[in-house]
């Protein structure tokens, strides 16, 4: 199971990096979202996976029940929200960029370096 997910993470990273390396800024953003998702999934699975045991406390008693590790879930939750903010800003930047320069081609950017 974990192996399958790990491979999925790998595929997502591969696709993400590949898209980051394209010239289109839209592809770049899609690539970024893939890598972002892959990273979240990686963080989520890194501390082990447990199916069907959400971290809710049902009874008041001191008896211990096995539940999924809530920490990575909290982390990923935070990361997703931060990622949303950043994606939104990136899209706005992209929009503004297109408005000002009229291009989607990232290679047109190279002049700021010279």
């Amino acid at each position: 199971m974990e192996v399958i997910l790990a491979i999925l993470v790998g595929i997502l990273f591969t696709a993400g990096v590949y898209l980051l390396l394209r010239r289109s800024i839209v592809k770049f953003i899609i690539g970024f979202i893939f890598i972002s998702n892959a990273t979240n999934l990686l963080v989520f699975m890194a501390s082990g996976l447990l199916a069907g045991a959400p971290a809710f406390i049902r009874d008041e008693g001191g008896e211990k029940i096995i539940m999924a590790d809530p920490v990575p879930q909290a982390l990923v939750l935070t990361a997703i929200v931060i990622g949303l903010g950043i994606t939104a800003f990136t899209l706005a930047l992209k929009y503004r960029f297109f408005q000002v320069t009229g291009t989607d081609d990232l290679d047109q950017l190279k002049r700021t370096d010279q």
Partner: protein
């Protein structure tokens, strides 16, 4: 346990909210200055407290470490908080007249304080994931600032800045998650303790590479430095000065903090990696700077080269080396920001950043010449300014620990730096104003608000040279805590003051 430890985060938060509500430009400017001064006062107080009674910890929400998030202020954090606040004060004064130049509104201060918040948060947090969160705060504020004027140049620079830094953030997040998976904690002190107690699998080092690359991107270390020269010359000079003083240093701060705490295993590998990277960063940044003819670009490449020195200090990994890195960081924050500000003043007076289009300032503006030559010579390492001691400590640390190659490279790079600084000096100040670029007419008057910030930072650099003793002592003490981490661990986990 000390509630004051949260102030460096809470003060900017409050100021940020005030700035969001406030609509008056004038009020915003002076609140910016007053708020930065308040931050400075607070950080001086915190530093004094740390000096007096040892490491300050605040277990946020009352959840004891390693369970909740712990805010830790040790000497290193304290020093960085102070140096950072000094830069904030200088930039806030500088912005009073400069931010109007091509930005129309004072929303600037919202992002100024969110940047300050991210910065201070990164300096004082004791939790790996929390560090990631503060990095994001810092990063997003800097994204907004770097594209603040929305000119095509800024947008292009901004896209590159954003692309590379986002990659860094994701690497950091992945590394953090993997660390939690492999050790079961996020608290840095607890992590350090675990790594010193038990044998952890070598795979941890693989995850650590992700974190190294993430910090390397933030710190603009070769070969991750590309975003810096691509974007630092595009925004308003106030923003560039702010970034030059603070941004890449946070990356180096995190590198020193995390790697001194966590990487005891496989130290030879890390040391070599740091030293190789440091040497390349120094030399390549320095070489690239010599080929530039735009003041901001010379100075930007030069930032990279100086980052190499700081990483070198970490790579040497003796108390002296790390103290050298800290000393260098503080010196560099002051001198670099001042140098960028002077570049802005030159532009205001002469209308250009291009060295080929300006000249004659030595005769026309002697005061500006003084303001430039102090940070420039400080950066070039001329005694008795701060930069000399920074380089001296690092060279001493390198030679005494047998790292001859890196020391030779540091000496070589010092010559490159000298060259770049003399180039600006010769072209902008000494030579006659080029005939085809007469500059701005009638001459621009600079008032004290323009001149104060670089003068303030420059005099601090001089003082840091003359009184290098106390600063060095602080840095050395901080470095001892960094190399012998048990006081840090004890005060975070067990609440003991060393």
């Amino acid at each position: 346990m000390n509630t004051a430890a949260a102030l460096p985060i809470l003060i900017p938060l409050v100021l940020m909210i005030i700035m969001i509500i406030n609509r008056s430009d004038t009020l915003a400017r002076w609140t910016g200055v007053a708020g930065s001064l308040l931050l400075l006062a607070c950080s001086v107080y915190l530093f004094a407290t740390v000096r007096h009674s040892g490491i300050l910890t605040l277990q946020a929400g009352g959840w004891r470490a390693p369970f909740g998030i712990t805010l830790v202020i040790d000497l290193f954090s304290g020093l960085m908080l102070m140096a950072g606040s000094v830069i904030l004060v200088a930039v806030s004064v500088f912005s009073v007249r400069f931010i109007r130049e091509d930005c129309c509104n004072n929303r600037f201060y919202v992002f100024f304080f969110s940047l300050a918040m991210g910065l201070n948060g990164s300096f004082i947090t004791g939790d790996l994931f929390n560090l990631f969160v503060w990095f994001e705060v810092l990063l997003l504020s800097s994204f907004v600032l770097i594209t603040y004027g929305s000119t095509p140049q800024q947008l292009k620079g901004g896209v590159k800045y954003l692309a590379l830094n986002l990659l860094g953030s994701l690497f950091f997040l992945a590394g953090t998650g993997l660390f939690y998976g492999e050790t079961g904690t996020l608290n840095m002190a607890r992590l350090a303790e675990l790594l010193r107690e038990g044998e952890y699998s070598a795979s941890l080092n693989v995850s650590a590479i992700l974190i190294f690359v993430a910090f390397g991107i933030k710190g603009a270390v070769f070969p991750f430095h590309f975003w810096l020269p691509a974007s630092y010359h595009t925004p308003n000079i106030t923003i560039t000065s702010l970034f030059a003083g603070l941004l890449s240093k946070v990356g180096v701060y995190a590198m020193i903090r995390v790697f001194t705490l966590l990487f005891m295993h496989d130290q030879v590998f890390w040391q070599h990696l740091f030293l190789v990277v440091a040497g390349l960063t120094m030399v390549i940044g320095g070489m690239a700077a010599t080929a530039q003819y735009e003041t901001r670009r010379v100075l930007s490449y030069h930032i990279i080269s100086q980052i190499g020195y700081m990483v070198m200090g970490l790579g040497i990994y003796t108390p002296l080396g790390i103290a050298g890195a800290l000393f260098f960081m503080i010196h560099n924050m002051l001198a670099k920001t001042a140098a960028f500000m002077v570049a802005g003043l030159i532009r205001r007076v002469k209308g250009s950043y291009e060295l080929m289009e300006i000249g004659g300032l030595y005769r026309e503006r002697p005061l500006l010449a003084v303001l430039f030559i102090v940070p420039a010579f400080a950066l070039a390492g001329v005694p008795p300014l701060s930069g000399f001691f920074a380089k001296f400590i690092l060279i001493k640390a390198g030679l005494e620990d047998g790292h001859y190659w890196i020391t030779a490279m540091a000496v070589f790079t010092a010559m490159l730096t000298l060259f770049s600084m003399i180039k600006i000096w010769n072209e902008a100040f000494l030579k006659k104003t080029p005939g085809n670029h007469p500059g701005i007419n009638p001459p621009v008057r600079l008032n004290w608000i323009d001149l104060f910030p670089p003068a303030f930072l420059g005099s601090l650099s001089i003082l840091m040279g003359l009184f290098a003793g106390p600063v060095f002592r602080f840095a050395l003490e901080a470095a001892r805590v960094l190399t012998n981490v048990s006081p840090y661990i004890e005060s975070v986990i067990y609440g003991l003051s060393p």
